[in-house]
């Protein structure tokens, strides 16, 4: 059995492979073999390190030396210098761009220090169906501390001091919300966990409920203690069967152990949790709509005030918090407000979980301290843009957010900065777009969603979004004119200004932010009837280059609408009138003869 003392890890991610990391791997193996080190050094290919910007990346274990922008020719130096002579190859080391310091090992690279898991602390670490593992990770200690050693006011003060703000998107200070609910006098109060995650592509709430359901149960009980509520309700979408199942198991286990039920920890505090199912309407993530849905009414928002903290579920004071917000609560009580508030920016404390998606290499859930820049998230953690394409924009805040561009990349992410930049935090969706994405089509895509998901109660959202969508449809099909752009902006502004709830007030954001940042693309669509990214079908045409076409007839045979004609061994032609721009011919053509313009 081989006993390796050293490992060389070579990144096999898409980005690094595009920069010859396979060859680096071969060269390293060869160098190891030539030096007779194959018994003690193993060279292996790994998944993406995420640091694609500095790729290809090579890491040496056990000393964690992190070499960046390695070329195949560097293989010999790495083996000869590093492994044999024990000297690090300085020219390949990562240089801290701020200090110009050479970074000797990966633990000191900012990028790797950027992810910090608080809300996701137990996800992927414990068995979510075993309460003992949660307890082994300090589970329910925070609840015990709160109930037996702290007054509700002290707990609320701790939460307020921590600076925690609502992670569902609004960013309202959590402690303050609790305090308002506490102050309302009523015989019955409720705490509600909003697990109606609806942003396309966002799934942090689901992951937390699936990976660490006890943290939510514990936090809700703490919330109940602070606000004076004896009942907790989890509003969760029925399409999350696994999360529901795990949550049910967690609630049952917590009851068994006495963390739910009567006289918890021997005190006179009693608390119980029930599950309520949502049918998956996006608007039911808005707290008043959520409450109506739980009451069995139509899921639609009502004007605030009155706020749920005054009059919510069945008219009782109700504190609604999001899953991720709750997931932070036990840790804050265990480690203290001071610790929590040391993380993040001045007005946004702690971390935020993002669902990184789109044209980025590492699609997944990440958790970073507030104040991390978009660049760090997208290029650092996300590993940069897929297939080496150019970054164009990132949509934060889901369909209610806006798109941010190159110039925003160094913006530290927090609630206020995102709003100032014309977007929002939302629940943490982050969709990355590259040079191939048409921003007008993107705005239309999001409007598709909000038109579908509007509850239809208020006129601006019900009719206005429909009209926005129709205008975008007109523009992307080349029938728009310059006046439409002014009308579009006016309508978007009015909807934002007049819509009843958060859904309507934010639904024009994708339109407004793309108009602000990519006005030239809009102009190209209306002035020149041209889609610069070749995404808008009606504005693109398919052509066959007669120089390249060999007349193989493959394209003509695959075309579903018979738009391509031509004799054998003679260049073919496409009839634009018939062509539906499905792209099948491009895929099939072996000679790269078909192009889009």
């Amino acid at each position: 059995m081989a006993q390796y003392s050293n490992y060389i890890l070579v990144c096999g991610g898409t980005g690094c492979r595009a920069s010859q990391s396979e060859l680096i791997l071969q060269n390293l193996k060869e160098a190891v073999r030539q030096n007779g080190l194959q018994e003690s050094v193993q060279v292996i290919r790994t998944g993406c390190f995420g640091f694609c910007e500095k790729g290809p990346v090579v890491k040496l274990i056990p000393d964690n030396t992190f070499y960046v922008q390695v070329t195949p020719e560097d293989a010999d130096d790495i083996v000869n210098e590093h492994l044999i002579k024990g000297r690090k190859v300085e020219r390949l080391l990562y240089v801290n761009p701020e200090t110009n310091e050479l970074i000797l090992d990966s633990k000191h690279i900012n990028f790797y220090k950027k992810q910090l898991r608080i809300a996701l602390r137990n996800c992927g670490f414990i068995n979510p169906e075993n309460i003992d593992e949660y307890i082994a990770r300090d589970g329910y200690i925070a609840l015990g501390k709160a109930l037996t050693e702290m007054t509700p006011e002290e707990v609320i003060k701790e939460i307020m001091d921590s600076g925690l703000r609502g992670r569902g998107g609004g960013g309202f200070p959590t402690g303050l919300k609790w305090q308002i609910t506490r102050k309302v006098q009523a015989p019955q109060k409720y705490v509600v966990c909003n697990a109606d995650e609806g942003d396309p592509g966002a799934f942090m709430d689901r992951s937390i409920l699936e990976g660490d359901p006890h943290s939510i149960v514990e936090a809700m009980a703490i919330n109940g203690y602070c606000t004076g509520a004896s009942k907790g309700l989890v509003y969760i979408r029925a399409e999350y069967p696994l999360a529901v199942e795990r949550l049910k198991i967690a609630i049952d286990q917590a009851k068994d152990y006495g963390f739910l039920g009567d006289n918890i920890f021997g005190t006179d505090f009693s608390f119980d949790i029930q599950i309520r199912y949502g049918a998956g309407a996006f608007v039911c993530g808005e707290e008043t709509a959520l409450i109506h849905s739980m009451e069995g009414l139509r899921g639609e928002a009502t004007v605030k005030p009155p706020f749920p903290s005054e009059s919510g579920y069945k008219g009782c004071p109700t504190n609604v918090n999001n899953v991720e917000t709750y997931a932070n609560i036990p840790v804050i009580l265990l480690k203290g407000a001071k610790w929590f508030s040391s993380i993040g920016t001045e007005k946004s404390k702690g971390t935020k979980v993002f669902a990184l998606a789109g044209k980025v290499n590492n699609v997944g859930l990440i958790e970073v301290p507030m104040g991390t820049t978009l660049r760090e998230v997208i290029f650092g953690i996300g590993g940069g843009i897929k297939d080496g394409k150019k970054f164009k924009a990132v949509q934060t805040g889901g369909p209610s957010g806006g798109c941010l561009t190159e110039k925003h990349l160094d913006l530290p992410i927090d609630y206020d900065n995102l709003i100032a930049a014309g977007s929002m935090m939302g629940s943490g969706g982050m969709i990355v777009m590259d040079e191939d994405d048409c921003m007008v089509a993107m705005a239309k895509f999001y409007l598709d969603f909000t038109v579908e998901e509007s509850c239809g109660k208020c006129a601006p959202c019900r009719i206005g979004n429909k009209r926005l969508h129709e205008m975008l449809q007109k523009i992307t099909s080349g029938r728009g004119n310059i006046e439409d752009l002014d009308k579009l902006r006016n309508l978007a502004m009015v909807i934002k200004d007049t819509a009843l709830c958060g859904l309507g007030q934010t639904s024009p954001n994708p339109v407004l932010s793309t108009m602000d940042n990519f006005y030239d693309e809009y102009l190209a669509h209306v002035d020149e009837q041209r889609c610069p990214s070749h995404q808008c079908r009606e504005l693109t045409q398919y052509f066959i280059n007669p120089e390249k076409c060999k007349g193989c007839t493959m394209c003509a045979r695959i075309c579903p609408v018979h738009a391509i004609t031509g004799s054998r061994k003679v260049p073919h032609t496409i009839d634009s009138e018939i062509c539906i721009r499905c792209g099948s011919c491009i895929e099939k053509c072996k000679f790269d003869a078909i192009y889009v313009h």
Binding site: T46, F49, K145, Y240, N361
Partner: protein, 132 residues
């Protein structure tokens, strides 16, 4: 289950749970007690995590490897599901991505039995909040 009545009881319970986990790891044959966590969130299950988990149990039995197979939540590497975290005693946990039956066999025969790293390791890029 007797209900937990005081905070002290809970703290004691936590300590015993921690040590019992430790003991479990170190007892018997330390070389052969391996912990395997299969990420079993919706993304994982969709990618076949359930099959991977049952195959792991089957294969470990067959290979006579004494290991503890548990499920866990989403680790965040959704692009590489199913993902599995393997902790061989005395070594850092290692996450493998895109695990299928072939990969399971490879993990058991190469990594667990011989300590040879194999392709498709996922570098773990985050810190997690530790215990109190």
């Amino acid at each position: 289950m007797n209900k937990v009545k005081t905070l002290d009881d809970l703290r004691k319970m936590r300590e015993s749970l921690r040590t019992s986990l430790d003991l479990r790891e170190k007892s018997n044959n330390p070389e052969q007690m391996v912990q395997i966590k299969v990420a079993m969130a919706t993304c994982g299950i969709a990618a076949g995590a359930k099959e991977v988990m049952s195959y792991f149990i089957e294969a470990l039995d067959r290979e006579r490897v004494d290991a503890l197979v548990t499920q866990t939540g989403c680790m965040g590497y959704c692009y590489a599901e199913p993902t599995v975290e393997i902790t061989v005693p005395g070594k850092e946990p290692i996450v493998f991505g895109r695990v299928n039956k072939t990969k399971v066999d490879e993990i058991i025969t190469s990594y667990i039995k011989q300590g040879i790293l194999i392709d498709d390791i996922i570098p773990v890029n985050y810190n997690s909040v530790g215990p109190e």
